[in-house]
């Protein structure tokens, strides 16, 4: 042993080791785990970590995409490619009630997120009986996330009780749960946005091309810039064709295309994207409409209701 030099691990090496340890603990102790896969950059990193954790075995759990039918086309394409590459089963769930009622981001406001995402997630977990779900949330994203445990418990109705969280000491995670409870596990809790980008770059992880700037058809809606990803469908919902302008844009986060604001940019490579991220003066979730509901406690309230 003495002939091996000591090596100081970098922050990314430590974060990677921690995430892999967390993912393995869940598989060893949970009954029926699943990985929530939203196709965004954080999901991409989480999936990559899962593949590392179990190599040469494929990760011993499926991927679950809670779909709103309003995601970017590029996201659907990458989702299917990555699921195939990982050798994991891909489950796609769409809330049937939201589909029947034609819930969309234009006519239904926050109901769109409530039904497609919050209710859809609950329904999917109940349908398949998953008792542990990996999610790609990070503590640096938002105030209430900063206080959430890595193993976060949900009641039978999927609610979060922030005042009654289990103490989490050292790297000893308590995955035992009561009947009906389920666990959300956040293996990349301690990563920052910069860490995610750099890890993607160092590991050459495929991400949705929308993160890079390109000429895209855009329209304005309530003062923000959006991409017209599916023009016929937009026309159908809006009752008119929005005014389309071609612009060089990219996205800092990805969600439903009518809810995800684009930023004008020429950053076409990973280095340029990271550069822009570091020099930018607004936070990452600023492009998302969801956090602005209910004042400062928007996300905390959503989580208590069962949002991931």
């Amino acid at each position: 042993m003495s002939d091996i030099p000591r090596q100081t691990l970098t922050h990314l090496e430590r974060l990677e080791a921690e995430a892999i340890h967390i993912i393995r603990e869940v598989v060893a102790e949970a009954g029926k785990p699943v990985m929530l896969y939203s196709v965004g950059k954080d999901s991409a990193v989480m999936l990559h970590l899962a593949r590392k954790a179990f190599y040469p075995s494929p990760p011993p759990f499926p991927l679950l995409h809670v779909d709103t039918t309003w995601k970017f086309q590029d996201m659907y394409a990458l989702r299917d490619t990555m699921a195939a590459a990982s050798g994991m089963e891909l489950l796609v769930y769409q809330n049937p009630e939201a589909a029947t009622r034609g819930i969309n981001p234009f006519d239904h406001g926050s109901l769109h997120t409530d039904m497609w995402k919050t209710d859809g997630l609950k329904q999917a977990l109940d349908k398949y009986g998953f008792d542990a779900a990996f999610g790609g949330a990070r503590r640096d994203e938002e105030k209430s996330r900063a206080k959430e445990r890595i193993f976060s418990f949900r009641t039978a109705s999927h609610g979060w009780d922030p005042k009654n969280q289990r103490p989490e000491l050292w790297n000893l995670y308590n995955a035992r749960k009561n009947k009906g409870e389920s666990i959300r596990i956040f293996p990349i809790s301690n990563w920052t946005e910069l860490d995610i980008w750099q890890y993607i770059q160092l590991n050459d992880i495929p991400i949705v091309p929308l993160y890079f700037a390109a000429e895209r058809p855009t329209y304005e809606w309530e003062g923000q810039l959006f991409m017209a990803d599916d023009i016929p469908r937009l026309e159908q919902v809006l009752g008119r064709r929005p005014e389309i302008t071609m612009k060089s844009v990219r996205f800092r986060t990805l969600g439903c295309f009518p809810l995800t604001g684009a930023v004008e940019s020429t950053a076409a490579t990973l280095s340029e994207v990271i550069q822009e991220t570091l020099l930018t003066t607004t936070s990452e979730r600023q492009g998302r409409v969801i956090d602005k509901d209910a004042g400062g406690a928007g996300m905390e309230k959503k989580k208590q209701e069962g949002y991931f």
Binding site: I4, R6, T10, K143, R145, K163, N174, Q286, E300
Partner: protein
């Protein structure tokens, strides 16, 4: 604002050069401790602000919030940045640990922002458990307070070796060196008394930014490093761990096909390379490492802090919970320890109750003895105690049902720290640290016998069982158990009936009816029943046994399938109306305390193997039903 700590220039000029430098940064985790008024949140807000971790939109929100609900008048109230939960913002206090992130040119930092009040001791211990360093804040106007002592003691207890005494709000005492020196002298005397061997003191102002990122012109008499400079230069824990012998708790056995068998885990200490001799604990089997497998290809060495998969040269038994260790200096295994416990739950410790104990990847059953003493965290006095309440810290012996591979916490956190989990509520109820193993457990070995329990059972031509009758007083347990034994006797079966009242005349005559005594009563009966089952008998026990946890404890002592829980299900009104021994009457009048069903709870079985309803059945019918369910007896 003061000079801003950031690397903007390089980001804009040469992003690739910046990324290379960032890629090689190390990481330091630290906690900040202090009470609300010490300016802890302000300091963290300042660190985030100075390292440009606050964006414009957040700053705008902060400015407007500061004016509305801030405590700093028209100035920015950084505390609002870090109090994340609605209840915290409303009450202006920190309830839970919050984790914050920032970078400097040299390091990435994770800060655990911990609440200071005594009722949040558990949250502080949580934050401290993963920290390399602690920043202890003192208000320059107030000096070393009771909570300063408490926080320092907790940090020391959890094993944090790097302690920074940050004397804050120096701006409010005119940057007076005498004030600073006085506080440092006070603290040094206290630190020495609790065994803290060294600390770094610095005068700062989180609010004004003095000595945070750079030496302040306001304190020319101070020649030490700024807070950031110090945080950037401290040695991180994982580097020190690499100097220790190899330890890797096995998390998961990787077996994709018949040709591959690897053992996955996070290396807790030491270094490893292919060809190294290893020993698997607790079995003690040896082998050598053949490969270190990762997704990015095999690697030729791995060190503490990395998650890897090891392949061994020999096919030896190794599974989750085992520890792969350096062959020439393996850790020990033991089943009795002296430990220091921090109680984290509203429900107090129940002496004798069986809890889950998780240490590394090992999960065993454990019982805690009466504490030797508890420690008053404000005065450091040792006090006698019967139990541990929420936030109590005490020293107590623990016994486990299986040997645990361990090291004293002071030598290795990973194999010395553990949590206790309530078996019924599944809550994490305590954090523990192993001080040492008790010699008696190492010197008492299992003596192998030639006649096995299978031989005993075969001679009696039956499968041993423990029929555990549980139910309220007066439910009919003894009557039905007696009837079952008669029927089994007629079938030429070898049985023995242990009755609650009878056992209390002899074996358990020293026990009363407190919760702790009831648990010990059941533990002893369980052990006796187990010995009788080992001898091949069908054992019948008739005890109220009100707590689920103890019934489950006895179940865990026996081989799968031998414990048969028989729930004699009689409603309280019916049992009380019968009142065969007149006990309910005494309990109702207050003459008899701790009586199950009256002023002490009965936890009914959730999934008993057999349930009998004594309202609809006679004792004979109930007994016949039980015997029928037991068939075949061999």
């Amino acid at each position: 604002m003061e000079p801003v700590y950031q690397t903007d220039a390089l980001i804009a000029e040469d992003i690739d050069a910046y990324l290379v430098s960032h890629q090689h940064k190390t990481m330091l985790r630290f906690i900040t401790c202090g009470s609300v008024d010490d300016g802890k949140s302000t300091l963290i807000g300042r660190l985030l602000y100075d390292s440009k971790m606050i964006f414009e939109d957040q700053l705008a929100a902060l400015e407007s919030d500061s004016k509305k609900v801030g405590t700093q008048g028209q100035e920015i109230d950084f505390a609002l940045l870090v109090d994340g939960l609605a209840a915290e913002r409303e009450q202006g206090i920190t309830i839970d640990v919050a984790y914050r992130f920032f970078n400097t040119e040299k390091r990435k930092f994770i800060v655990a922002d911990c609440p200071g009040h005594e009722q949040y001791t558990r949250n502080m211990v949580t934050g401290a458990s993963t920290a390399d360093l602690a920043v202890i804040l003192v208000d320059a106007r107030k000096g070393v307070l009771v909570q300063t002592r408490r926080h320092s003691y907790l940090c020391h207890l959890i094993g944090i070796r790097n302690i920074v005494l940050a004397v804050n709000k120096m701006d409010l005492v005119d940057y007076d060196q005498a004030v600073f020196d006085g506080i440092v002298a006070d603290y040094a005397a206290f630190a020495k008394s609790i065994g803290i061997t060294g600390f770094t003191a610095m005068p700062i102002s989180g609010f004004k930014g003095d000595n945070i990122t750079a030496p302040s012109a306001n304190t020319p008499w101070y020649s030490g490093p700024s807070l950031i400079e110090h945080l950037e230069s401290v040695e991180v824990l994982s580097a020190a761990d690499q100097a220790q012998p190899l330890r890797m708790p096995v998390q998961w056995v990787n077996r994709p096909n018949l040709d591959f068998r690897g053992f996955s885990g996070l290396i807790a200490s030491g270094r490893v390379k292919p060809g190294d001799a290893i020993r698997v604990l607790p079995s003690g089997k040896t082998s050598t490492v053949s490969r270190i497998v990762t997704f990015d290809g095999d690697i030729d060495q791995a060190v503490a802090g990395q998650s890897v998969t090891l392949c061994l040269a020999d096919e030896i038994d190794c599974s989750r919970g085992d520890v792969i260790a350096a062959a020439d200096s393996p850790p020990q295994a033991a089943d009795q320890f002296e430990t220091t416990l921090v109680w984290l739950n509203d429900e107090a410790l129940l002496v004798g109750r069986s809890y889950w104990l998780k240490l590394g990847t090992q999960m065993v059953s454990a019982t805690v003895q009466e504490p030797k003493y508890t420690i008053n965290v404000n005065t450091m006095e040792k006090m006698a105690a019967k139990t541990l309440d929420l936030n109590a810290i005490g020293v107590a012996e623990i016994a486990t049902d299986k040997p645990v591979v361990f090291e004293p916490y002071s030598e290795a956190r990973a194999l010395g720290g553990f949590i206790l989990i309530d078996k019924i509520t599944n809550a994490t109820v305590a954090a523990g640290m192993i001080n040492f193993s008790l010699r008696r457990s190492q010197n008492i070995h299992w003596q192998p016998t030639d006649i096995t329990r299978a031989d005993h059972a075969a001679l009696k031509n039956q499968t041993p069982r423990v029929l555990w009758f549980t139910g309220l007083s007066g439910s009919g347990k003894s009557t039905i158990a007696n009837e079952v034994e008669k029927q089994l006797n007629l079938m030429n079966r070898h049985t023995f009936l242990l009755d609650g009242d009878n056992v209390r005349h002899g074996l358990n005559r020293d026990l009363g009816f407190t919760e702790a005594d009831r648990i010990e009563n059941i533990r002893r009966v369980g052990e006796v029943a187990k010995l009788m089952a080992d001898a091949g008998l069908i054992v019948l026990t008739a005890f109220i046994s009100p707590f689920r946890a103890e019934r489950e404890m006895v179940r865990a002592m026996l081989p799968e399938g031998e414990f048969v829980e028989v729930f004699v299900d009689t409603p309280l009104e019916v049992a009380e109306a019968r009142d065969v021994k007149g006990l309910y009457k005494k309990a109702r009048s207050g003459e008899l305390k701790n009586f199950t069903g009256i002023d002490s709870p009965y936890e009914a079985p959730v999934n008993p193997e057999i349930r009998v309803n004594t309202v609809e059945m006679t004792p004979q019918e109930a007994a016949e039903l039980i015997v029928r369910k037991l068939l075949p007896l061999k």
